[in-house]
Amino acid sequence: MKWVTWEHIGVDRMGSAWLIQRFIDKQAEFIFIAHGSTLLPKGCEPFDIPGVRYSHHGGHCTFYVLLKEHKISDRVLERIAQIVDEADEIHKVAVEPAAPGLDLICRGLRQISRDDFEALERSRFIFEALYAELSKDEA
């Protein structure tokens, strides 16, 4: 399936794309449209765009919503969802110290990448690394 989101991707879009390709749709292709655009190309599944199914709901980020909507139960992914929640939004009570750092790294990664495709490709590495390291805690 083709998945579409706003360009200049950051932590939630990078994480969500990784989650989609790794756990939801192995053949996923990604398309980026202008930031703020509400004109969605036909036949694409939008994500992390205000107002669509796979976006922020109930105070949670898109990563978390994707996880719940697809009924994926994986404790490591739930941890990552918590980290992305705290990275993407200001929370008075924060329990994941990795969150602000992950947000910064994702922003920087987009800056040093030629385009969103390259940023997405590189960001996979970060989320794979996070997944591997957090899996050790769950073992």
């Binding site: 930031h35 703020g36 205000p50 107002g51 922020h56 939004e89 200001i90 008075k92 924060a94 602000p100």
Partner: protein, 145 residues
């Protein structure tokens, strides 16, 4: 001249949890409300996206409405007044942290968290913020030695 985000919204009085939710989100971003009606934030990619999200959350609430604009001031001098309001707001929080740091045995863990929350609202790089940052590091070092 800076560009500002203007935001107005309406959420039904009941259930009150929703009104509190929206208000808290705006306060956490450090938004300032002008004349009890218009909320203002400096335009950055981050504030822009966060307010877009908030607008979409309000739209999902029954009876919720909002509008979001990007705007420039065209009357000389008002820009710096508004900027000063943002600086004053965050400086009040920094001053509070600094005064607590001067007491005996300050709770450095709690105050460093308070600093992080304040700095998320520091849009114009307040000098006091740097002082809080350095004081926290210095006091920690003293506590460790």
């Amino acid at each position: 001249m800076g560009t500002w985000l203007l935001f107005i919204y309406k959420v039904p009085n009941e259930p009150s949890a929703r009104r509190v939710y929206v208000w808290r989100k705006l306060k956490a971003m450090g938004a300032i409300v002008l004349h009890d009606s218009v909320w203002v934030l400096p335009l950055t990619p981050r504030t822009r996206e966060k307010l877009q999200w908030l607008a979409s959350e309000i739209k999902e609430m029954e009876g919720g409405q909002s509008m979001l604009w990007e705007s420039k001031q065209i009357f000389t001098g008002q820009d710096s007044d508004l900027m000063q309001q943002f600086v004053d707001q965050v400086d009040t929080q920094y001053k509070d942290i600094l005064s607590q740091l001067q007491r005996r045995n300050p709770d450095l863990a709690a105050l460093s968290r308070q600093y992080q929350l304040a700095s998320a609202q520091d849009y114009f790089q307040s000098e006091l913020g740097k002082r809080v940052y350095e004081s926290l590091i210095e006091l920690r070092r003293k506590g460790e030695s």
